[in-house]
């Protein structure tokens, strides 16, 4: 029975990857370029594009759940706020966590790898949604701060990439903390657990876990730099102190 289940989930996972790829291709080649023609206003088009992506991601997650490849639970949904700009900070254990987060936060901005932004099949999608491209560090950080101040929410992974499997300690780079301090935005920490772990860094899609995996998303209450790092130090000092404070929260909760 277990082998049958394994075989089924292997098929379901492969099938899901194929659907994601094909779906992305069709949306990227037809729907989003069309959006540029149909919706002329930039702000409107951005909102529509992000909404479409979010819904597609939501449908994708539903499909994977229906196929029995994964299950999920969300705690703290009451903290999701669509009319306020929030800096969403999450750990990044698996490939699929972004899909969940974008479906939960439709209008959030994201940082996209340059390889994806340049990809001809994804270019229109990223452009229509007006996501931030991961370019040179200084410009990237400045863009993040500017967009937050402009009223958009932004999703950042302080790890900078997916968690390295087997690493003893979580490692947070300074970028997210730097953006938090410079933008003075409300911070929404989100703890993500994937049990058993799968779709991690360097893991091929076919290395599926021994049983259906659970993605648990725990949205903590909104906080701020002032709450996490009391006192009045220099921005430079605050960025490092904030990073430590965030790392502490995540490390303790996820251990």
């Amino acid at each position: 029975m277990k082998r049958l289940n394994f075989a089924w989930r292997l098929f379901a996972t492969g099938f899901s990857f194929a659907v994601f790829g094909l779906g992305g291709l069709i949306l990227g080649l037809f729907l989003f370029p069309l959006l540029f023609v149909v919706v002329r206003d930039d702000r409107n088009r951005q909102a529509v594009a992000r909404s479409l992506i979010s819904k597609a991601f939501g449908a994708f997650v539903w499909m994977m759940k229906s196929l029995g490849a994964l299950s999920y639970q969300v705690q703290g949904a009451e903290h999701i706020c669509s009319n306020r700009s929030q800096l969403i900070i999450a750990n990044h254990p698996t490939l699929i966590d972004v899909v969940f987060l974008v479906s939960l936060f439709p209008q959030t901005n994201c940082v996209i790898k340059e390889a994806v932004t340049r990809n001809p099949f994804m270019r229109s999608t990223v452009a229509a949604a007006n996501y931030i491209s991961n370019s040179e560090t200084h410009e990237l950080l400045q863009s993040c701060v500017a967009r937050l101040k402009g009223g958009e929410s932004l999703l950042l992974f302080p790890e900078g990439t997916r968690t390295t499997k087997g690493s003893q300690q979580l490692e947070f780079k300074l970028g997210a903390a730097s953006v938090a301090v410079d933008s003075e935005a409300e911070i929404l920490p989100i703890l993500i657990r994937c049990t058993p772990p799968t779709l991690g860094k360097h893991e091929p899609w076919y290395k599926i876990p021994p049983r259906r995996f659970l993605v648990s998303i725990h949205i903590l209450g909104p906080t701020s730099v002032g709450q996490l790092v009391p006192g009045n130090a220099s921005p430079r000092h605050m960025k490092r102190a904030l990073n430590k404070a965030l790392l502490n929260i995540f490390s303790q909760a996820l251990s």
């Binding site: 040179e136 560090t137 200084h138 950080l141 780079k173 300074l174 970028g175 730097s178 220099s234 430079r236 000092h237 960025k239």
Partner: protein, 78 residues
Amino acid sequence: MNDDQLFIKIKEILVKQLEIDESVVTLDANLYEELEIDSIDAVDLMVQIKELTGKKIPPDQFQKIRTIADVLEVLSRL
């Protein structure tokens, strides 16, 4: 601005904004190992230099910089 004046200005940035001890800031001190700046400091430094000189150091040249002397050399070639 000549190199001496530039050095003084950059030293000021390192001391005031990056909170580095004035006595260790020399032309040849290794920014990362001796002055202990990290990647975000480096970014902040480049932003300040751009504001100071109007010149933006391209990322690939930025990667090779280790000392203030290196910074001055890169700037003189821009």
